[in-house]
Symmetry: D2
Amino acid sequence: MTTPDAPEIDAEAWLNTPHPFTLAALRGQVVLLHAFQMLCPGCVLHGTPQAQNVHRTLTGRGVQVVGLHSVFEHHAVMNRAALEVFVHEFRLTFPIAIDRSGATGQPIPRTMQAYGLSGTPSIVLIDRAGRVQLNHFGPINDIELGAQIGRLLQAA
Amino acid sequence: MTTPDAPEIDAEAWLNTPHPFTLAALRGQVVLLHAFQMLCPGCVLHGTPQAQNVHRTLTGRGVQVVGLHSVFEHHAVMNRAALEVFVHEFRLTFPIAIDRSGATGQPIPRTMQAYGLSGTPSIVLIDRAGRVQLNHFGPINDIELGAQIGRLLQAA
Amino acid sequence: MTTPDAPEIDAEAWLNTPHPFTLAALRGQVVLLHAFQMLCPGCVLHGTPQAQNVHRTLTGRGVQVVGLHSVFEHHAVMNRAALEVFVHEFRLTFPIAIDRSGATGQPIPRTMQAYGLSGTPSIVLIDRAGRVQLNHFGPINDIELGAQIGRLLQAA
Amino acid sequence: MTTPDAPEIDAEAWLNTPHPFTLAALRGQVVLLHAFQMLCPGCVLHGTPQAQNVHRTLTGRGVQVVGLHSVFEHHAVMNRAALEVFVHEFRLTFPIAIDRSGATGQPIPRTMQAYGLSGTPSIVLIDRAGRVQLNHFGPINDIELGAQIGRLLQAA
């Protein structure tokens, strides 16, 4: 099988959950990883509401939505305290990992690097066996996203 | 297996296709049957654009969208000539069956009766084996609809 | 003054009112004339909901919205009976004139001709003195439309 | 005349303008003051895009849109540096005042206090003579807002 195993999430902290998540522990579920930045308009206006909608619609039916706050610009103002306000005010309820900062001089955080994400918003779909089945940057049609999730839910 | 076989479409005529469709001939594909009336606001504003979106997104990937114009009220003004104008002006491109009129005194057309539809818009999903897997009246979330289609696409 | 006097509405019939309206009798009010066809997508999806919104927002404050069903194509299927169903189903509540048919061989109805409308949807704004102050074909921003109505309301 | 004179804007700094604005210098124009917080969903999703739309539609026609960043909660994360990123990323182009902090222990900034604003988003309309004509908290219909601006534009 040539589909890549999904790299583990490397998080500095988690919001909306009393305990960290690991992809290892999510084997058996389809995972939608929503990479975003709190001051990215394409995230705030489209990607993040879409992730919240998937969470509301499909949680408990084999799907786990995980947010990934992958800050690669304007790091100083998109810090943890700011993110906590954003998450509270916008009423996001899915668990959110704060992506771990890169090495000195590397603005791209570690999980974003590991997945080779092109920017935010990005969606990664991980199948029940922990393999990456979609790595998509930018907007995606709800019907298309739903259909891909549905296929992964049904796959043997 | 207790899932019902989908009743065949009983059409007076077809639009957007040079030949009639039959569910029998569509075995092997997932069929989305979109029952609508051209002067039903929930259809014009939501259901029919959604069906057109599924058609645009998933045609050629194992999904066939079929419209079903099931007129159960105001029959005189939602006739074939009016429907042809509607389909042309709203640029609908999926094949559309005109549901056959019921017996005298029965306002509900025959395919609508056979499926036991509650009104318009309704969505029926038919799996690759020709069995009804969803029969839904009213609005449905694109993520939910996409996920159900995706499951049927992947099912053995 | 070079602003043209608004031609009188020439209607075959009226819906949503027990009595015909005349522009003459509406002197002192700002009139928004919304020309539409019931099977024109730009009307159904944008122009007509906008007219309904102006009606709901500004009626009783010096503004009268008047619909004008100006059929210039597909006459047979956009007849009075069909329009009555459309108006009922889409819950339009402003008064609507059915524009009078043109002479034989002339598809454009008479009020549409008199105003020189380019198509549907069109908006005509008529000031308190009965003069045409806007004759606009196609979409118009709600802020722009509101501002033009507001100016006419305040004008001496 | 009992309409109150609009209190002057008390700003710590301005964005999107090389020089501070004063209401005094804007006499003769209609001013739309849009009070917002960069992490308030009702602002980000509705109020601020509406203000940007008024700016794009009516600037140069007697209307000046002025943003007022009135932070009354979560002060630490809605600071100037964060606002600058927000304004850049969301492509806001109207001038924006950063409302001056209140006295120690007073979370409500000074201009917000002076206008008695109830929260964000709020819209204040100021007429050509510098008087407050609307002080509105929460969403407002574009047609209603446009009509009120239009009336003020036309008022003697």
